[in-house]
Symmetry: D3
């Protein structure tokens, strides 16, 4: 059993806002992140998979396949997009880094299994000071 | 004569769009950066000043003063903002990294002179692959 | 259950020295780190907490609260200080990175619980080549 | 129980190739990595050990000893070498990052035990986008 | 006048060797870099261009065009290659970082002029400790 | 003419203090950096030399020679030392990054000339947010 991690990146806009609350409460909780005109980040995504090594290739998973899967299921939908408005798998959700990481897990879990490995963790880095990691429930 | 550089950071949304052009032309030129729902970045700003060393302090400029100036004149206006909508000194301008760097120069030049040093360059890093530098005309 | 990590930084002086040993023995064990006139580092601190996501915020913990707690309990006491002489929670301890990480855990554990999350790990990076991680006993 | 990680680096050439397959199949599976004239990387190696803290030193392990062990058993054999041709402990193996990480584990496991700690993981970073981690079986 | 820099990366093998010298002299001068079985690096390439800002785009040069030019003229020829054996524009040359930087300048200078900007510098980073910069003669 | 840069690192303690001033004035000017019990940093040093390429080697300067010179004249004197107390070439000087950069220039200038190249700049990075560069007078 060995772990392999692939990093990908995307640049996106978002806003933290809870429609159930008034503006004052939103600003109290989310601070500058509640700016109604949006702000944005260079996000870094680390997808870690695990599995046994294929004797013929020396690989857990072919990085070409893993990278294509992440590109198609996640990056194409997030890069240069608005997380609140443009992304099918974020519809109706808060766009916190935590919620985003779980949503990305759900996008990738099945496809990675089909490639013969197991999804181990999703790490999303929002700034050089903040990141979240999700390991499934 | 010695150079000193201070790095600051801000997270902002923006869009590249020229109102004189139709949508097709904008997408042709600006690609994904023309997404009407905005996208965003973690920008890094490097402000380089130059001058002679003060014998009593060993400093070209007191970093505390320089950092406060950048905070007040630039970061407070850009951080968690929309470069196209929220920023007084970007009104009516393209929000390319090039134009942003020159606008930041104009915000800081005079204040740095008052602190006794000379502004040497503004570097704005938009992603880990792209940055611009402006040295004044 | 999701993990969230906050990075903070501090610059401090220290010395590795065991009073029970003579100078020769200290130099033999600690090498250059036993310099009696002190040396120092830019330390990086990574505090990882875990918990369930709050439905209203999308957060495990509000980063503003976590950051304030770390600032008040740890950074204010360590930054621009001497780890051997200035820090109440390091009194009478070796100032190795290992011991420092455990001491920081003890400073933060209770406060993070009060914020509704669980402290998962403390990582302290002393140089780009060395770091330690503590996960509680 | 605490974890300590030491980073070391080496620059090496390699090629991904399975002798059981013809050229077409090798290129199909390994892509550009099957270039017969070799390519190479700046590899980063992170060795993580764990154990209890020695009261007299505050250390899990003396970094000087750990670094010397890694140097002698691993770096001297890999740095500025060809992973397919020059390295005794890679003879007859695929030179994927996965296989390399396991081979490095086997080189270091015993020596770290003799230094009084336990090897926890080997991380090998091949590019800024790809790394693997091995935790023993 | 403003400067814009694009970073690209490539992984390559090479060897430092002067055919006019015997083996002893080569090892004396080039040390481990003279290993006849090759070694390799993750090279980083920084291409800096300068020019005036186009009023309609806010750009010195369209990064899409610059990136495509670098890809076609340089990266496709260097990535996952052997600098001594595979690269047309390095034939008969020493593969030091210095010589490589100048050769890349010659590959790109004309194409950048055709895109309406001026090549300002080529920076090639071989390891995190060493890089060279060439500004034209 | 081409530029080559070598990075080296050292960890040191220091304090900013002007003996001509009382404590209040020192704290007013130097803030936390005036802590009498010292603080410290992981400094990064970038030495840039320039010259013509030697036809036989492809080098401006042999990195082995440059690195040894920097080690002997600078790093051995600064690493794990106190800049105010331990360093011959800092005696009686303020230990600001600016003054340190100039002092390092003076230590290296002549030796680099003897190796056949010209010293172009000294860059000293004190934290990830602050660095200075000196290009000679």
């Amino acid at each position: 059993m060995i772990h392999l991690t692939r990093r990908e990146r995307f640049n996106a806009a978002h806003m933290l806002w809870n429609d159930k609350w008034d503006e004052q409460k939103n600003i109290e909780v989310f601070g500058k992140c509640a700016n109604k005109n949006w702000h944005g980040h260079n996000f870094e995504l680390f997808v870690t998979v695990k599995g046994d090594i294929n004797k013929d290739t020396g690989f857990v998973i072919n990085l070409k396949d893993l990278s294509q899967l992440i590109q198609y299921k996640v990056i194409d939908k997030l890069d240069h997009k608005n997380l609140n408005l443009d992304v099918d798998f974020m519809k109706g959700k808060m766009t916190s880094t935590e919620v985003l990481a779980i949503a990305i897990w759900e996008e990738l879990d099945e496809g990675i299994a089909k490639l013969g490995a197991t999804l181990h963790s999703i790490k999303v880095q929002e700034t050089e000071n903040n990141f979240v990691e999700y390991f499934g429930q």
